[in-house]
Symmetry: C2
Subunit: 331 residues, 2 copies
DNA sequence: CTGAAAGCGCTAACAA
DNA sequence: TTGTTAGCGCTTTCAG
C-alpha cells in the first residue's frame, strides 16, 4: 500500500475524519477554515495520497461502478455499444466494466454472479439465449439491471430494444418498392426472439405487398459454422430459386459472408440483386454500397440503458420496471 | 445487502470464522468434521449466501482482478486482444476488467489512476502515444504492469511486443520477390514507435533488394480523418508515381480504406497490384484475398502478458522487468 | 475441532 | 472548527 488517509492525517496532526471530509469536497459545507482546507488538499497531493476505493465502497455501500455484459466484444455491434454505454456512464459519474459472455449462457450466469459479488451497483446485459436463472435471481432480489438489445417479453424487467419487426418490414418493403419480387431471407439463431421478429417483419412486408412468403426463399444458417454453412445454404437456394432478385439479411455477418460467397464465385452481385440488412458492419459499405441497412441507434440505446439503470439504482424500492422500444432509421 | 456470512453463522450456531474457512475450501485442512463441512456448505447454498468480494479483498489485500487498457475497444485488433487476455486471466483464476482509453493520453492516465484506486492487482496496457506520467508513477511505486503491443524502449518496464521491423521487412521482401519494383508505403501515426519500425522494415527490404527507397512512394496519412485523407494521398501518389506496382500498409485500416478507394473509383486493383499489410481485419480477406498479411500472435501476446503480470504480482519486490518480442507469421 | 477478536482503509454519526 | 468512534463484511491469528 502507498500512503493512507491516516498518514496524511498524522503528518498534519489532524484527524482522519477531517482529512476525509476535506478531500471528498465536503470541506466548506462542514465549515473548515480556508487554511486547513488548502493545507490538507495540498499536502495530500504532495504526499501522493490516493484513496482506496475498496475501503470507501465498503464503507458507503456503493461502488459507483456498473457493468455491461455482451455476448461477444469482438462483434462490432457490441463494441460500439460498449463505447456508447461507457460514454454515458462516465457522464453520469459512473465507471463501467465491460465483460463478454461469449454467447455462453453458463458463462453469462457466472459473470452476473461474479459482478454482483464484486458489488457493482447495477448491470446492463445483452443476454445470450438460454440464460434465465441469473436473470430471475436478480429480479427476485430486486437487484438493478436492464436488458439491452434482447429481452424476455414474459419477464417484467427493464429493457431497451429496437423495433425489430417494424424496421425489418420497412426495409423489406423498400426492396419490394424497388422492384424485387423474389426476396430471399437469410437468417440465423432463430431461437432468439430478435431474429424471429426480424423474420416476421420480412414476412409481413411480403404479405402486405401481396407477394406472399415462399418458404423456398428462406434460408436458415446455423450460427456455429456459419462461414461454411452459408455457402451451402446459398448453393441450395439458387438451385431451388434461380429467380431470386433480392436478399434480406437478419444480421450483419450473414451479409458479409454472403458477399464473400459472391466474390469467391466471381458472381456480379452488384447488378444482379438488391440487398437489405439489419444493421451493418465494417466493409459492408465498401462491398455493397447500395445495400439498405437499418441504422441502429446505438448511442441512444446505450444512453437510455444507463439512465434507466441509474434511476433504478437510486430508487431500488419503488422503482417499476420500464421498457423502451427505439426506432431504427434506414439508410 | 442479501444474506451475510454472519447470517449463515448465526443460523447454524457457528462462528463467522468457521463458516468462512469452510466456504473458502480450507475446511479439511483445518480439520473440521465432515458433518459440519457439509452442513455449512449446504446451508450457505440454500440460504443463497454469496460473499462480498469488496470486503474480502479489503481484508486479504488483493482483489484477484487485473485490468486491460486498450486505445480503442472497437478496433478488431484490440477486441481480439481483449478476448485473448480474458481467456488467460480466467485460466489463472483472475478476473479481467477491460477499458478503452480512446487513444487519449489524458484519459489513459485517469484510467490508470482509477483502476489502481480500485485496487486491481495489476495492469496490462497498450499505451497511447504521449502518455508517460502515469506509467512512470507505476514504475516508481513498483506497481505491477506490463505494456503490450507498444512500449517505451527508454523505460525498463515489462513488455510484450512483436518484431515489427523484421516482419515488415520480410513481408515487403516477398512483394519484391513476387516481382514488385515500385512498392508504395502507406502509413500513419508516425510518432508511434511501432509505425516507425514498420516503415523501417519497409525501407530495409527495399535497400537489401538493391531497389532503394523512393520518398515519392511513401504516403503518410493523418489518423484524425484518414477516411478522406487516404483518397487524397492516393490521388497524389498515382500522380507522382503512375508506375506503382505494390503496396505495403503499416496497419489494417489503411488497407481497408485503400480498397474502398479502388472500388469507389472502379479500379481493378486485384490484377494491377500486389499488396501486403501489417495485421489484417474483417473483410480484408474478402476484398483482397491475395494480400499478404502478418498474422499477429494475438493469443500468445495475451497469454504472455498475463503470465508476466501475474509473476510480477507474486514477486513484487524482487521481480525484474522483462521484455518479450514475439514473431509474426506471414500468410 | 471451534470461537473471539483484531484489523483491512475509509466514512459518518455524534460529540466537543 | 475539529476529533472520537463505531461500523462496512470478511479473513486470520491466537486461544481454547
Amino acid at each position: 500500500m502507498g500512503v493512507l488517509l491516516k498518514d496524511v492525517a498524522k503528518a498534519l496532526n489532524l484527524s482522519k475524519a477531517t482529512v476525509s471530509w476535506i478531500l471528498s469536497g465536503k470541506g466548506e459545507e462542514k465549515g473548515f477554515s480556508e487554511a486547513t482546507i488548502k493545507l490538507v488538499k495540498e499536502s495530500a497531493a504532495r504526499m501522493g495520497y490516493s484513496p482506496n476505493l475498496l475501503a470507501r465502497s465498503l464503507s458507503v455501500g456503493s461502488t459507483k461502478i456498473i457493468a455491461l455484459i455482451v455476448p461477444a466484444i469482438d462483434d462490432t455491434f457490441y463494441s460500439q455499444m460498449a463505447q456508447a454505454v461507457e460514454k454515458q456512464a462516465q457522464k453520469r459519474g459512473y465507471t463501467l466494466i465491460i465483460s463478454s459472455s461469449e454467447s455462453n449462457a453458463d458463462k453469462e450466469s457466472r459473470l452476473i454472479r461474479a459482478l454482483r459479488d464484486q458489488q457493482v451497483d447495477g448491470l446492463i446485459v445483452a443476454p445470450s439465449k438460454g440464460e434465465f436463472s441469473a436473470i430471475s435471481d436478480m429480479m427476485k432480489e430486486r437487484y438493478p439491471f436492464v436488458l439491452i438489445d434482447r429481452y424476455y417479453p414474459e419477464l417484467e424487467t427493464n429493457y431497451v430494444i429496437v423495433n425489430n419487426e417494424a424496421s425489418s418490414r420497412e426495409i423489406v418493403s423498400r426492396l419490394v418498392g424497388a422492384g424485387c419480387r423474389r426476396v430471399a431471407l437469410l437468417t440465423t439463431d432463430t431461437q432468439l426472439l430478435v431474429m424471429e421478429r426480424r423474420a416476421q417483419g420480412y414476412r409481413e412486408a411480403l404479405e402486405r405487398a401481396g407477394i406472399g412468403v415462399d418458404p423456398a426463399l428462406c434460408v436458415e444458417v446455423k450460427r456455429a459454422n456459419y462461414a461454411e454453412a452459408i455457402a451451402g445454404g446459398l448453393d441450395a437456394l439458387f438451385e431451388r430459386c434461380p429467380d431470386v432478385d433480392g436478399f434480406f439479411f437478419s444480421t450483419h455477418y450473414l451479409a458479409l459472408e454472403t458477399m464473400r460467397y459472391f466474390i469467391d464465385r466471381g458472381i456480379d452481385y452488384r447488378s444482379g440483386f438488391r440487398f437489405a440488412c439489419f444493421h451493418t458492419t465494417t466493409a459492408l459499405d465498401i462491398l455493397a454500397p447500395e445495400m439498405l441497412v437499418t441504422l441502429m441507434p446505438i448511442d441512444e440505446m446505450g444512453a437510455c440503458a444507463v439512465d434507466m439503470l441509474l434511476e433504478n439504482i437510486r430508487n431500488k424500492e419503488e422503482f417499476r420496471p420500464q421498457g423502451i422500444v427505439l426506432d431504427n432509421r434506414i439508410g
